[in-house]
Symmetry: C2
Subunit: 267 residues, 2 copies
């Protein structure tokens, strides 16, 4: 059987780890792929672990026991984080992004995989220690970000819908009061999509007063499930009083300045 | 300034490439990060390129010229592809997945990052040569898959909505005839979300008669844009006549068998 050099194994193992964040991978799967001794693979992994942690771009954890192995967790260096947040601020301050009703047009950011990936790494690295079972979002704009956070945390995504669909089986629906417009809205979740007793992270693109987040907390109670953490890309601090606490946001939106551009404060 | 060993550079470069599929990365960015000569970095890349192509898990292309560099493209080996499709078939044949109206419950698959990632690599590696500008989908279930395909192709995602939203600015809406139920439906796209003259790939979870795909083609015509390719996870071959041709699907659904499970045919 073919042998591989250390360089070759390191490239291939790095790729496998980076593509499966937070998943425990048994060393035996590497010894099989590379026809190498466990001690050799362990040495490869030490090299990968050291460089990732030196550059602050990821951590490799060792899980002992019969079902043990190694697990890659994402990370981002402070320099990269600041660079990304500065860039995001700069883009969102463009004057033609202001939409009637004092909204900021952010759809292009939320659908840009490069930006979504970086934002997700920032959010996921804050939630890594919580051992959540799933990431919850409400359709539509926050889905790519929530998906990336779920992928980074190695858990599944749960999408709450505004309407109900025949292709999702029985659903549970609730009505909730939107925090800013004080309108009654409804949302529904397929009964099959979440296990009772799940620990969830709620991710969304924008938070105003937090009415949607509160609605999600109520909806998840119907499934005996709870929200361990909340993460959004931008939260509006125009409304002083929020309906939820204990959330993180990458940028804070403080309204529109006199020259017509958004006032944004980094994390 | 600090020096890095070849092993260390290979791990870090592999991570950067895998996280930025189809993006041209100039070798100078690596020489800066690793404080190494361009020839050294080139040798590192040859090692990474060789092992990825040997294992059939990716290709590294060299782009010459002033704005040149290297570009990583995803790939999946035939063995891995078959293994994934067999697993998907097995899961979707579970009898309790049949929903009244002869639908298959697939939401859990579409929201499972591990499965979405593999399906996306299969679809994206088929579309890599088309040089598309964006990936288009219609909300909601296909969004994670479309997002992953967009990421693999290094392009942005465009999401067509069933309704219109105040936060997306002016929109263009069309009505279309759903191919299977013959009902009039509407979809809309924010004018800012796509450039005129875009070349698009349409991605969705399920295709019945192809009415939605045809609707997307019509909607994109309003933006002088066209669909270069269509990819779905499952397409139903119960309806013999499709409204579109030139599409790929990972599984074909041939109805429900006498024992009450889905009849599925792999790619």
């Amino acid at each position: 059987m073919e042998k591989f050099s250390r360089n070759q194994r390191i490239a291939a193992i790095t790729k496998i780890l980076v593509e499966s964040p937070n998943k425990v991978i048994n060393l035996n799967s590497f010894t099989e792929i590379f026809n190498a001794a466990k001690s050799t693979i362990s040495e490869d992994i030490v090299i990968i672990r050291d460089i990732l942690s030196k550059l602050k771009v990821g951590n490799i954890e060792t899980i002992s026991g019969a079902s043990g192995g190694i697990k890659y967790a994402c990370n981002i260096s402070e320099i990269e984080k600041e660079k990304f947040i500065r860039e995001l601020c700069f883009i969102l301050k463009e004057k033609d992004r202001i939409i009637p009703g004092n909204f900021i047009y952010m759809t292009d950011i939320m659908y840009n995989p490069e930006m979504v990936h970086k934002a997700a790494v920032i959010l996921a690295s804050s939630f890594n220690k919580l051992s959540a079972d799933c990431v919850v979002t409400v359709e539509t704009k926050g889905i790519p970000l929530a998906y990336e956070v779920a992928k980074m945390l190695g858990v599944k995504l749960v999408i709450v819908r505004r309407d109900t669909r025949v292709t999702e089986g029985p659903t549970v629906s609730i009505n909730y009061l939107s925090g800013s417009s004080k309108r009654i809205q409804s949302m529904s979740l397929s009964k099959r999509s979440i296990k009772r007793g799940s620990k969830c992270i709620f991710i969304d693109d924008f938070m105003k007063a937090g009415g949607t987040a509160l609605g999600i907390i109520d909806l998840l109670k119907e499934f005996d499930s709870k929200v361990l953490g909340i993460g959004v890309l931008v939260d509006s601090v125009e409304n002083k009083r929020k309906l939820v606490d204990n959330y993180i946001s990458i940028l804070k939106f403080k309204g529109i300045s006199e020259d017509g551009s958004a006032i944004l404060i980094p994390w």
